[in-house]
């Protein structure tokens, strides 16, 4: 039912009055992401993180160019010290495998596992957190019980159990890491949604007749995403740590070179050839550090008020 007699559109609009209000003079070119990048760039620690990250990505990308061939093959005499033989610049392990090759190829595994597991856990976390935070009430109660149940089981023990039951192929490991680490993102997204849904723009959208799903994913989610992105760096760091711990214990996928596994194997020769475990250890340390630094920098760029 419409009311043509009172419809605004059917009547001529009153003449546009001269605009008495001046707009602040902000160039349209200065988009949000540009501002963010500028703030990020000013942060030296964050830049260092970015440089480290790019270095790891380059190592992963160029693994086949710099150190061609299977990293698990025997490439020199066992336990060559670093910086002594040109063909094995970072030395070899007790089986004669080239450490540099292992590091470069291991970067692939670490990054791949980190990225995929992070995507899985963030995706689960966003859906569960968004639904729980937006609808509240019983739905929230039920979903939070499930979240708490997952949080109650020590995640590494659950990871071990999943690997023990389903095997330790790389696909299973990635999915298992995703499954054991979605709870923290879910809680965070839920908290964001609970605070954002109280904001009046959500009421405004509902009042316009926008559907719930649209409100969740198109109104609230874009506003909740920045902290999620920051948090993804933490999840990423954790995933890499978990994978390497698994590989360290010898429970990783034996078909791939992995930093954790290299450290685990190097443990046996720790007394004589410390570099076998220290070099991959430093690789993990720097990779995880790069994510933390970038995450912090991004966080500071998003919340400039905290910075004096």
């Amino acid at each position: 039912m419409t009311h043509p007699d009172t419809s605004v559109a059917s009547r001529p609009l009153p003449p546009a009055s001269p605009a008495p209000i001046a707009l602040p003079d902000i160039g349209l070119a200065q988009t949000r992401s540009l501002v963010l990048w500028r703030r990020f760039r000013r942060n030296r620690a964050a830049l260092l993180g970015l440089i480290l990250f790019v270095a790891v990505v380059l190592m992963a990308a160029l693994a086949d160019v710099v150190t061609p061939g299977d990293p698990l093959r025997i490439a020199g005499s066992p336990l060559t010290d670093p910086l002594t033989v040109a063909s094995n610049p970072w030395g070899t392990d007790q089986l004669g495998r080239d450490i540099m090759s292992g590091i470069f190829h291991g970067a692939r595994i670490s990054l791949a596992i980190g990225v995929v597991a992070t995507v899985i856990s963030i995706a689960i976390g966003v859906v569960i957190g968004a639904v729980a935070g937006y609808f509240g009430g019983r739905i929230d109660g039920a979903l939070m019980r499930v979240t708490e149940a997952f949080q109650t089981i020590p995640s590494f023990v659950l990871l071990l159990t999943l690997v023990a039951i389903f095997g330790s192929s790389i696909e299973i490991i990635v999915i298992a890491i995703g499954i054991v680490s979605w709870t923290a993102p879910a809680r965070m997204v839920r908290a964001e949604f609970m605070s954002l849904r109280r904001r009046e723009f959500v009421d405004a959208a509902r009042n316009l007749g926008v559907s719930d799903m649209s409100i969740i994913f198109r109104e609230i989610l874009p506003n909740a995403l920045p902290p999620v992105v920051v948090f993804a760096s933490v999840v990423m760091a954790n995933s890499i740590l978990m994978e390497s711990a698994l590989a360290f214990l010898g429970l990783g996928d034996p078909n791939y070179a992995s930093w954790g596994n290299m450290i685990g194997q190097g443990r046996a020769v720790l007394r004589t050839a410390w570099f076998c475990s220290v070099i991959p250890g430093i690789a993990i340390l720097l990779t995880v550090l790069s994510f933390s630094l970038m995450g912090e920098g991004l966080n500071d760029a998003l919340n400039p008020r905290q910075k004096r």
Partner: protein, 329 residues
């Protein structure tokens, strides 16, 4: 009637009751995992015996209730769990619960010492960093925190062993006591403590970094709050302002994290206990995976869940004590 019960007790009981659905969910989850695992108890038994005829296998299945419907099996499984009957460990030739109990003490010792170290130093360093925010001290502490945070515990463990055991020879490489020493009294305590130094350091450092960063942010946030300005307008300052007004309020999120993360710390003990050959629950989890001892592994999940629930109730009580806005009634 409820007037006679102290509010603290009702609160504790209420929190315990709230944990029941979580425990039930975990029980259902672990049951599903067992069902999903390839092969069941009977397969394992038959495999051990090196094969048997089908009629015998069917009789065994009936004996173990494996021919019943899934729901009946779940119900029986849960009843057993409630009685702390986690089944039989074929590796240790003992009931799982006895294997667990013989190792629980060591793990709890490691947990408590690690958390005390992480919490105390984390809170103190975080507060100092926030107090001197953006200064040289702060940068130093914060950078150190980031490095601690990025350090995998197994790598740190190896470094510690390399330095303090291999090179310097100060501390034992592993174990909980010096083998064959049979010390008693204080000498025994000192011996255990010496064995725990490196595992504690390796396990606590990452959480120390967590608490430190959170405490720093939290203190900075609280220092901007209105009531701190009120306190300053009253003439309070220095240590008094810090301890009475800022620190206590800033502790709240740290305590929350302590509860949330306890299960992660417990998970971290797997790696550390394995490296330092500490006979605890974590090391047991590792050997169970290697030796495919599923019953023990499930027992570990159940037991650690119960511990985590208890610890969470404890942290809630600490939180309620710190924050009078939480009504105990």
């Amino acid at each position: 009637m409820s007037l006679l019960v102290p509010p603290l007790l009702t609160y504790t009981v209420r929190r315990m009751v709230q944990a029941i659905p979580i425990i039930i969910l975990i029980m259902i989850g672990s049951f599903l995992l067992i069902k999903l695992a390839p092969g069941d108890t009977v397969d394992a038994l038959v495999g051990d015996m090196g094969g048997a005829d089908p009629a015998f296998v069917a009789r065994l299945r009936a004996e173990y209730g494996l021919d019943q419907s899934v729901f009946v099996q779940l119900w029986r499984y849960m009843l057993k769990l409630v009685q702390l009957d986690f089944g039989w460990s074929y590796v240790y030739e003992q009931p799982v619960i006895e294997v667990l109990m013989s190792r629980l003490g060591n793990t709890l010792l490691l947990m408590v010492s690690s958390l005390v170290v992480a919490f105390t130093f984390g809170v103190a360093l975080g507060a100092i960093a926030a107090r001197r925010a953006y200064s040289w001290t702060d940068n130093m502490i914060s950078t150190l925190g980031l490095v601690f945070y990025a350090m995998p515990s197994f790598f740190l463990s190896l470094l510690l062993i390399l330095i303090f055991s291999v090179k310097l020879g100060w501390l034992p490489v592993g174990g909980i006591r010096t083998i064959g020493a049979f010390k008693t009294g204080w000498a025994d305590v000192a011996d255990v403590a010496r064995h725990l130094v490196m595992p504690t350091a390796a396990l606590s450092l990452i959480y120390l970094a967590f608490y430190m960063r959170l405490m720093r942010t939290s203190v900075l946030e609280v220092m901007d709050l209105d009531f701190v300005r009120t306190a300053r307008a009253k003439g309070a300052g220095g240590a008094r302002l810090m301890f009475h007004h800022v620190m206590r309020n800033a502790l709240l999120p740290v305590v929350t994290l302590l509860g949330l993360q306890f299960s992660t710390v417990l998970g971290g003990s797997v790696v550390v206990e394995t490296i330092f050959s500490l006979p605890g629950i974590g090391q047991l989890a590792y050997t169970s995976v290697v030796k495919r001892d599923l019953n023990t592994l499930m027992g570990i999940i159940a037991l650690s869940s119960i511990i985590v629930v208890i610890v969470n109730v404890l942290t809630d009580l600490i939180y309620a004590w710190l924050d009078p806005r939480i009504e105990l009634k």
